[in-house]
């Protein structure tokens, strides 16, 4: 048997990098048992934690980069260990000390964010191009900002989500503003992948830009932007309010400001994103919005609300390659098919990218429309 010796210096590095609750773990293995990775491949979460406790960490292992930060494990850990913090801390040790290598594709996304403020490496100057014709919205003195997230701002499929959002906001008479010239990526996946310094500088830049523009409320499409603004920016002193588009739509509907005119005759199932449902307890509002669209029939999949099945895109995984037969989104798409849904409704750009990929994986074996809730709402008000 291989002989190992505890190496407290390494354990201390993880603790200093934020893995504070490391020592609370009593090695029950519930995290391993509840982690979605173990549906498709081995990911020994408990063992990694024990290795970290003793400082015998294999930083070069692929494991360092697997966690999708879906929060399944954190939600049920009997000792209340924030396992995501520990995973982040291990990545941070790699990113900051160079004990091992950051995966190439992740490294590329992070460098792109550092260079042009978005992970796709698109020119910063084209961030507002989704809004055609060029919206006047940059000019109003409204305190409400619509922050579309980098992917809807640049990626061709997701641009439609940003455009749909703008159309709805206008239909509801919301006076809002966009700031493509000055805003940057929120930095969520940057931080989750261990690049703390870059995250801090993005956060400072954004907070400065928002405050210069007099922003007091931000509407977002991405649950990841939502979580980062709401929890992490607030910790850094931000004072603006954040609201996810599904929450906002739900409010507009209740206030009678959003009226539907067209039936959307479809059988829809809603996929809860980890960052709305599990991280922030938001799962009633998206259902309320869907129910309000005339014609829609909602069917539920087995794993819903706080017990949702992760798509695989959180924690920077969206920028890393996931082998074909190891994609959670494939399992989820199968679930949607099993309940005979015609549309898989989403509320997260990462989910959208993953499910579009999964459709390709199934090579026509599954026919399903993948839509963001805002697109369905847009159809309903057309």
């Amino acid at each position: 048997m291989a002989l190992i010796t505890p190496f407290q210096e390494a354990a201390a590095l993880v603790r200093e990098a934020g893995g504070l609750e490391l020592d609370q773990c009593y090695q029950c293995g519930l995290c391993t048992g509840s982690c979605p990775w173990n549906l498709v491949r081995e990911f020994p979460v408990r063992k990694l934690i024990h290795q970290a406790q003793l400082g015998v960490i294999d930083f070069e292992a692929e494991y360092t980069w697997l966690c999708t930060t879906c929060r399944s494990c954190v939600q049920c850990c009997p000792r209340g260990v924030d396992i995501i913090d520990i995973m982040k801390a291990m990545r941070r040790v790699v990113a900051e000390t160079g004990v091992s290598k950051v995966p190439d594709s992740l490294w590329l996304a992070v460098s792109n964010i550092a260079g042009s403020g978005n992970p796709l490496g698109q020119p910063a100057g084209q961030r507002g191009d989704w809004a055609t014709p060029p919206t006047k919205k940059a000019k109003t003195d409204s305190g409400i900002l619509y922050f579309p997230c980098c992917i809807p701002a640049y990626e061709p499929r997701l641009k439609k989500v940003a455009q749909a959002t703008a159309r709805i906001l206008e239909a509801a008479g919301v006076d809002y503003k966009i700031l493509p010239e000055v805003e940057n990526c929120c930095g969520e996946s940057v931080r989750k992948s261990g690049h703390e310094n870059l995250f801090q500088s993005l956060a400072q830049k954004n907070m400065q830009a928002f405050s210069n523009a007099g922003i007091n409320k931000i509407i977002v499409n991405s649950p990841h932007c939502y979580d980062t603004f709401k929890k992490e920016y607030t910790e850094l002193g931000a004072e603006f309010k954040v609201i996810h588009i599904v929450q906002y739509l739900s409010q507009l509907i209740d206030e009678g400001k959003l009226k539907f005119s067209t039936e959307v005759k479809k059988k829809v199932t809603y996929h809860d994103s980890c960052y709305l449902a599990r991280h922030n307890g938001i799962y009633d509002e998206p259902r309320h919005v869907l129910e309000s669209i005339p014609g829609i029939e909602i069917v539920e999949m087995p794993d819903i609300k706080e017990n949702t099945l992760c798509c695989g895109g959180g924690g920077g995984r969206i920028w890393m390659d996931t082998k074909k037969n190891e994609r959670f989104s494939d399992l989820r798409l199968q679930q949607a098919k099993n309940v005979n849904a015609e549309v898989l409704a989403l509320s997260c750009p990462y989910c959208m990218l993953n499910f579009e990929d999964s459709l390709i994986d199934f090579q026509g074996a599954v026919s399903m429309e993948i839509k963001d809730i805002v697109e369905l709402v847009c159809e309903g008000i057309a």
Partner: protein, 653 residues
Amino acid sequence: MDDDIKIGVYVCHCGHNIADVIDVEDVAQRARKSGNVSVSRDYVYMCSSKGQNLIKQDIMQLGINRVVVAACSPRLYEQTFQNVLRESGLNPYLLQIANVREQCAWVHEAGLQATEKANRLVHGAIRRVSHHSPVEEQSVPVFPATLVIGGGIAGIQAALEIANSRHVVYLVEREPSIGGHMAQFDKTFPTLDCSACILTPKMNEVSRNPYIRLMTYSEVTDVSGYVGNFAVKVKRKARYIDEDKCVGCGICQEKCPWSTASEFDAGLGMRKAVYTPFPQAIPNIPVIDRERCVYFLKGKCRACEKVCEAQAINFEQEDMYIDLQVGSIIVATGFDVFDPTPIVQYGYGRLPNVFTSLEFERLCSPSGPTGGQLKLVSGRTPESVAIIHCVGSRDKNYNAYCSRVCCMHSLKYSHLFKEKTGGEVYQLYIDMRCAGKAYEEFYERVQGEHVHFIRGKLASIAAGVTDAEEDNLILTCEDTLLGNLINISVDMVVLCVALEPRHDTEQLSHILRLGRSHDGFFLERHPKLDPVATMSEGIFVVGCCQGPKDIPDTVAQASAASARALAMISKGKMEMGAITASVDEVVCSGCKVCNALCPYSAIFFDEISNVSRVNQVLCKGCNVCGAACPSGAISTRNFSTIQILAEIEGVLA
């Protein structure tokens, strides 16, 4: 200063504890120079009998009438030195302790400064003690009857102990019968003796003992008064059956046409609307459950009335309130079991054949719904079982504490399952905790019965699809010793659920003025040195209402508390602290500020004279009221302003 005052000062070395840091001789010498000090000495151990004799002799021979002891904290030896004064014919409150150990020697380096501080502390004590005057000690008579709340094994044991020494006990039990959880079990670990066989004789003893006044189907609704003399109100719920006439034949239960789920069978079996919960019930007198009885619900039926030859059925009965007077109270209300429904991954309530531990006890019991045969919902005998530890225990999402008995009862279940079915047993545990006499040996014995032990917390249970007439259950869990995720397919799952505080603990804690610990159970006075007493004098907590524990520990606590109650009765009175607060009625403005502040609810407001008064028995002398009184009307004996100022002046002089 008063010429008649003769102070003796005694400086203790406490071995090396004090003498190594403080120049004790210097302290004794300097003390002698203060006014009114007639004698001062230092000695190696003042608390030894030789040390005590030094003080005694001085009091008797030199006429010393005030004593200062410079030694350790008054919490440790104040009572000892008070006794010295008492035995020498001096009022024990003419004593002042200067704490030169904890407040000086232990917190400073040896040297002049430490000695200087000790000198000042002693000087303060000398000044203060000159202003001491004799304080009368109070005692209250103890009414020689005891109330026991809860008739589980804890309450039964306590009641019997007291009644066997021929003192009256009121045993109040909420359910129609005594017995508690133990009556629901088949066998008990680690000896596997039959639970009913050891419990029933004790229950019978309760019903026979002339000193026990048993009140079942009853609850305590109000308690007032204080140690030695509590006034208790008990609500006796109407049974609708005349206890004097009923002969316990059981014909009413047989003929009653209305059934409902039996609480005693953990909902697995049925009982009638008129019922005794189990065959050995004490008293063997049924109750009519008015929530279920169709006569009460719809106004028609009274079938039982027609068949009862003893004519004991009485639909006119009403709830009764009874007043009791008792000297002490023993609380033995036990625990509730955790409801695992919120852990959706375990499928309790959704998947058939997922049971709780209490349900499994009933399935094993010969008096249970299956006559003691282990059966699946379909009626088939299970061929395999998984027993899950720590469901709702050791889990911050539910209860952070360990429930202490589950490791052991899961071993018991392994044995029973093997014995009854010969099938496969899996135990899913996190840590095996088998601390107790013959417990580890029991663990080893069960291991020898080819039980599979898997170290890991169950992640989820899913219904597997098989060809058999019913689905099996597929368990997913990390086997942390192998480092592999494993799937286990079984017929039956037993969730060993946490022991939780009774759902109405909060309510009872208000009635009894009892504290609760962070886990929700009743709080004992001291976790190690006084585990059955509480901060409310004369009220004791025993068994699982104080925290999860097994039957041996429960019985030991029950016996301990009854010894305490008996000691009070045999003494006939309780000495109360003499240091209590009192209100100067002339100065009191009647603002009531103090009323709500008193942590012991000792202050009441006299509406006629428009002043607040302090109940001298309830007051513990904490002086919260004194500090808060805006008129300065409240003073606490031996903590008068003059005394405290004198001490401060002495320290600063």
